[in-house]
Symmetry: C2
C-alpha cells in the first residue's frame, strides 16, 4: 500500500533483492580515457555501468552537479531515458538538493519531474514546509529530504539543540508527520553517523525510507548502517555508493569491476539485514 | 578595502547610487507575446530589461530555476555575458541556492563561476561550513548565504530556538565570523521580516551586505526594510524586486515600464536610506 512512490520502491527492493543505490557521479575527469573520444562520453560510460549493474540495484542516483558544471544536461536526460526504457523497475533519483520558495520551487519541480523525468529528487529543508510543497504535490514522485548529512560540517546546524532535541530530529519529525500527507517522503541520512541513523529510525518508524550516502570513500560503517537503519521488514534503505563502484577500475573492464563491487555490496547489505 | 567582491559591490552602489537588484525571473509564460516568436525570447526580453535598467541598479539576480526548467541554459549564459560586456560595474548574482558536500560543491562552484561566470551565488547553509568552503575559496566571488528567508514556512526551521537564540541568528554569527575569512560573504534576509533584519544587522555589524528579496509581490514593507537593514554608511543592501519590475507592463512598452518602476524603487530606497 502507500503512495505510488512507496509502492514503486517496495517493488524495486523486491525484484532486485537489493538495497544498493549506484551513484552515477560520472566525473568527466575520472572516466576511462578510451571513452573520452566519444561525442557523449558520460552517457556511454553510464550506459555500460547501468547495463552491468541494473539487475543488482534498487535505484540509480544522478548527482546533477557533475552534469551542470560541464553543460552535459543532454547526457543526463539520455541516461535517465535509457534507464526508464530498459530497466523500468529501477528507481531514478535526481540528486540536486533543491530548495526555494513558492513559484521558484514549482520551476524546480518541473526541472526534476518533467525535464529530467526522475522518480524522486533530493531536497533541502532549510526554507521550510511551503518550499517543499510544490514537490510533495507530485504524489507519485519521491521527495527525499536532507536530514543528517554525511559530511563533518553537518554538525554546524543539524546538531544544534532546539527545544531539547537536535535540529535533524526536528526535521525527521516534521517530515514524517506534518509534511507527509501524500506518503512520498524519504530522508537522507549519512552512513558516517550510524548512531543517528538508529535514533531517526526510532523516531519515524518503519514507513519512511532512507537514502544513505557515505559508504566507501567517506568511510561509513556498513554493518552498523544496515542494522541501525533498516526497518522491521529488513528493508527501508537505499544505500548509495558512487566512486567505490563506478570507478572500481579505470581500464576497459570498468563495467565488469562495477558489477563485481555492486554484487559484493548487495550481498554484504543482505547479510546484515537478516541479522 | 575588503575583498574584491566587497570592493566591487561598494563600487556598484557608488556608481549607480542605487541599492536596487533587478531579478530576471524571466518566466517564459509571462514575457510579452510578441517576443515569443524569437529564437531566444528570454534573452531578447532580458536584453531589453537590462538596457533599460542597468544604470539604475547595483545588481541583477538570475533565478536559475526559470532557465533550467525549460532547458534555457544557453540564454542564461548569453544574458550574463551581455551584462558583463555592456555593464561591467553591475554585480551579477546567480540565484541557485546550492548546497552539497565536498567534491560535489566544487562542481557547483564551477557551474556558478566558470560556466555561468556570475560574480556571486546564493547558497544554502544546512550542510554546514565545509559545504560552503569550495565557494568561499573563490575569494573574488560573493557567497550569499540564506539566513532568514521571505516565505511563511521559513519559521519551520529558521526560527527554532537553539541554545537560547534562533537558528537564523546562529547562521548569521557563523557566516560573519567563522566562515568569512575571505571577506566575501553576504546574507539573504527577506523584506517580509523587518524586525529580523534589524536584529541581524546588529549581530553582524556594518560589513556584511544583505540581499533582500520580498519587496512587492511578497508584501515586504520598504521603509522598515531600508531603515532596519542599512549599515551605518547608509548602504549594505541589495533590495531585490522581480515581478514588480520586469512584468510591470505586458505590452511593447515593457522595458520602459520596468525602467520607471526601477527608478521609483531606487528613489524610495534612497529617501529612506538617508533618514
Amino acid at each position: 500500500m502507500g503512495s505510488n512512490f512507496y509502492y514503486k520502491l517496495e517493488n524495486a527492493w523486491s525484484i532486485s533483492n537489493s538495497m544498493v543505490c549506484v551513484g552515477l557521479d560520472s566525473d568527466i575527469n575520472k572516466i576511462p580515457e578510451f571513452l573520452k573520444a566519444s561525442e557523449d562520453p558520460i552517457f556511454q560510460f553510464n550506459k555500460s555501468i547501468i547495463d552491468a549493474t541494473a539487475k543488482e540495484v534498487c535505484s540509480f542516483k544522478l548527482q546533477i552537479a557533475f552534469y551542470s558544471s560541464i553543460s552535459a544536461e543532454q547526457q543526463l536526460i539520455e541516461t535517465i531515458q535509457y534507464i526508464k526504457e530498459n530497466y523500468p523497475d529501477v528507481i531514478v533519483i535526481l540528486d540536486s538538493k533543491r530548495g526555494d520558495i513558492g513559484n521558484t520551487a514549482e520551476q524546480y519541480a518541473l526541472e526534476s519531474f518533467t525535464r529530467y523525468k526522475a522518480d524522486a529528487v533530493t531536497l533541502n529543508p532549510y526554507l521550510g514546509g511551503d518550499s517543499l510543497q510544490p514537490f510533495l504535490n507530485y504524489s507519485d514522485k519521491g521527495s527525499i529530504i536532507l536530514c543528517r548529512t554525511s559530511n563533518p560540517g553537518a554538525k554546524d546546524l543539524q546538531d544544534l539543540i532546539c527545544d531539547e532535541e537536535k535540529l535533524y530530529i526536528k526535521v525527521a519529525k516534521l517530515a514524517s508527520t506534518q509534511w507527509n500527507a501524500n506518503k512520498n517522503i524519504s530522508l537522507v541520512i549519512g552512513a558516517t553517523y550510524p548512531k543517528e541513523l538508529k535514533e531517526i529510525r526510532q523516531v519515524v518508524g518503519d514507513n519512511i525510507p532512507f537514502l544513505v550516502p557515505g559508504i566507501g570513500a567517506q568511510g561509513g560503517d556498513l554493518e552498523n548502517t544496515v542494522k541501525n537503519g533498516k526497518n522491521s521488514n529488513g528493508t527501508g534503505l537505499m544505500i548509495s555508493s558512487s566512486r567505490g563502484i563506478i570507478f572500481a577500475s579505470s581500464g576497459s573492464d570498468f563495467a565488469e569491476a562495477a558489477k563485481k563491487e555492486t554484487i559484493k555490496l548487495k550481498e554484504e547489505i543482505n547479510y546484515y539485514a537478516c541479522r
